[in-house]
Symmetry: C2
Subunit: 383 residues, 2 copies
């Protein structure tokens, strides 16, 4: 959607996003307290739920109903490999790992190396290389090869293609225009691509059904697919959900996140094309520290003023990163926000507090990321 003050599409997120407006216009539902309560019965609620980073859904209640009846759930998320992974990309993946444990579910993870080739000034070699690099980050988060299958579109197109064709056959260019904002200058590869991204939802259901001993022709018709992702991907799931009855599958459900703000301010999402605004998993920890120390804050021009007037955590990216990503302890977080607002915590200290956590995370992540190189092939769909 494009509003007067912000834009949220799969290819562009900018401006100050009004998530209330998005909920209404996309027609998704808020994750309310009763739903949180149901989720908490599966596992202690993840930070991202407690801090409302994951805030909206489609049919999450249906997934919980089906799960309670003993039906299988399969998870599906992915990544457009147009560069290295930054912390914003990790948000849905970290959450997916929590969902995987909560639902004891298999994950299908799509690397859209084709899509990024089609929309960016990158070669196919570059996007397929980034896909492998990004996969290291996924693996570093603790996913196991026995229940995590990575789909590289250019490698695994054959597996997805029959589903994509069935979705494409009933999706006109008009519909794609309306849902994705395509026009006559859109290339014919990109115009087909939504069918391929939607396809994985059904492929995943079929595979889980087949693993359970069902026959290919109607395998997975009772499996429920749940897609954790950022809200900008919602248009794809509208296409998938519309196609589901024609393919004979359950409509995929979604659990949707807001965007992690970039370091230079609360507007938009952390962009992979602005290196100073984002922290990459491949950044040297000390470079990451420097980026944090230069972050946009909610502080006052001088220390004296901040001590007197206090800071504004609502516009402070440092407070937000702590709240959404790095400060696990709810009580500590509440106290810190209160202290920041009261001028008891100054920006320098706050930045250092975050920077230490970022550095610790990166050192650990990078260690695991390098180890992932030895096992990456085990995660491939066709391994």
């Amino acid at each position: 959607m494009t509003s007067t003050s912000f834009t949220v599409t799969p290819w562009e997120v900018k401006g100050e996003i009004d998530y209330e407006k998005i909920i209404k216009e996309f027609g998704v539902k808020r994750i309310d307290e009763p739903l949180m309560h149901r989720l908490s019965k599966l596992a202690p609620l993840h930070l991202f739920l407690r801090r409302k980073l994951f805030f909206a859904h489609r049919d999450l209640d249906v997934v919980l109903d089906e799960h309670e009846k003993g039906r299988k759930v399969v998870l599906y998320t992915g990544r457009g490999p147009s560069g290295h992974t930054h912390l914003g990309h990790l948000v849905p993946w970290i959450f997916t790992r929590w969902l995987q444990k909560a639902f004891k579910a298999k994950l299908y993870f799509q690397m859209t190396d084709d899509e990024k080739f089609l929309v960016k000034d990158l070669s196919l070699e570059q996007t397929t290389n980034y896909a492998k690099e990004n996969a290291l980050d996924l693996i570093a988060l603790g996913f196991e090869p026995h229940d995590t299958k990575i789909i590289y579109d250019t490698e695994h197109i054959r597996e997805l293609y029959p589903f994509a064709l069935k979705i494409a056959k009933r999706t006109t260019f008009s519909t794609a225009k309306a849902v994705f904002g395509f026009d006559n200058s859109t290339n014919i590869g990109l115009s087909f691509f939504p069918a391929l991204q939607a396809a994985v939802a059904f492929y995943a259901q079929q595979q889980v059904g087949m693993a359970g001993g069902e026959k290919a022709a109607d395998a997975g018709k009772n499996v429920q697919c749940l897609i954790p992702c950022a809200i900008d991907q919602d248009p794809y799931w509208r296409i998938a959900r519309d196609a589901a009855p024609y393919l004979g599958y359950q409509k995929p459900a979604t659990i949707l996140s807001k965007f992690l703000p970039g370091l230079s301010g609360p507007a938009g999402k952390m962009s992979a094309s602005d290196a100073a605004n984002a922290i990459y998993t491949t950044d040297k920890p000390e470079d990451a520290r420097k980026k944090v120390m230069r972050a946009f804050t909610g502080g006052q021009p001088t220390i004296d003023e901040q001590r007197k007037k206090g800071g504004n955590p609502d516009i402070c990216t440092v407070c937000q990163w702590l709240n959404l990503l790095f400060e696990e302890d709810d009580d500590v977080m509440q106290q810190r926000l209160k202290d920041y607002r009261a001028g008891k915590i100054l920006d320098g200290e706050n930045k250092k507090y975050l920077a230490d956590k970022v550095v610790a995370f990166l050192e650990e992540h990078q260690r695991k990321r390098e180890k992932a190189r030895d096992v990456i092939e085990k995660y491939s769909l066709t391994a």
Copy 2:
């Protein structure tokens, strides 16, 4: 193209086709006498060239130049498997076998089971089944597995996809609209498909280059692809030829045929959707005989009138089938046309003469077609 009196697109051919007009509007060239002479040096000219069923081309002269320099030529043609094969479908395949011997070239044959699913009221299972049935007809014509590779799109999409993506990236929906007559109601699968049909030309060049020991990255850049097919497929090759410089390959050349008229009259091409108008390779020979005996002719209402006034071979489908397909001997053919025009050959006799040839062909073809079932797997691209 759509003219006031006829339509020729990859999905529709109807009306009385003005091939002169097509040559002008498509911007293709007539196969002239000097070109025929050059071809005759490779092998005795095929019936289809002598009788001008293959009548036009793009860059056939370039292919001959390159071939004379010792460069490799690869052939590419295909079939949209929306039903059983009829004699009209065999025309480019029979000619391809001649070209294969003349140029000592490998053939890549594409079965577009995906396309036919996207445009017809057929299931994917039906189109993939027809693809295998149609392949039997190809094999029955004498192609050998060592230099004939059949590409089934849904099976071999992975091999074609990188080329298709590169073509798609620089083909806008506007271009596809202009070239293929697509509009906003076109499904997003069909709008992508031209990239996939164009892709085979470059894939084939690459494969031949690699077979010659070149490295994948720039394999086949000097190989020349020649595409024998009916004129309605020309739009695809415009897309392919436009994309060639960006992919670093030679522009594919084409050698283009007119349509074999249907039995019920000279307008349009033999349609796979009108069973009485076409003779299928799966027709019982005696049913085929009956179809021929009911064919539209250039005769007069009564035998007496025909003896007096003579018949008109130009509108007579029986004369045309003999001329274009079944009467190999040029002298015999010329004499028969003269005799028909003079009223010396009557329709009944003419039909029987053709029917005997059709029956003999079908009996032989069907015998070979059944034997092909044992070897069909050897022809698969990935065999």
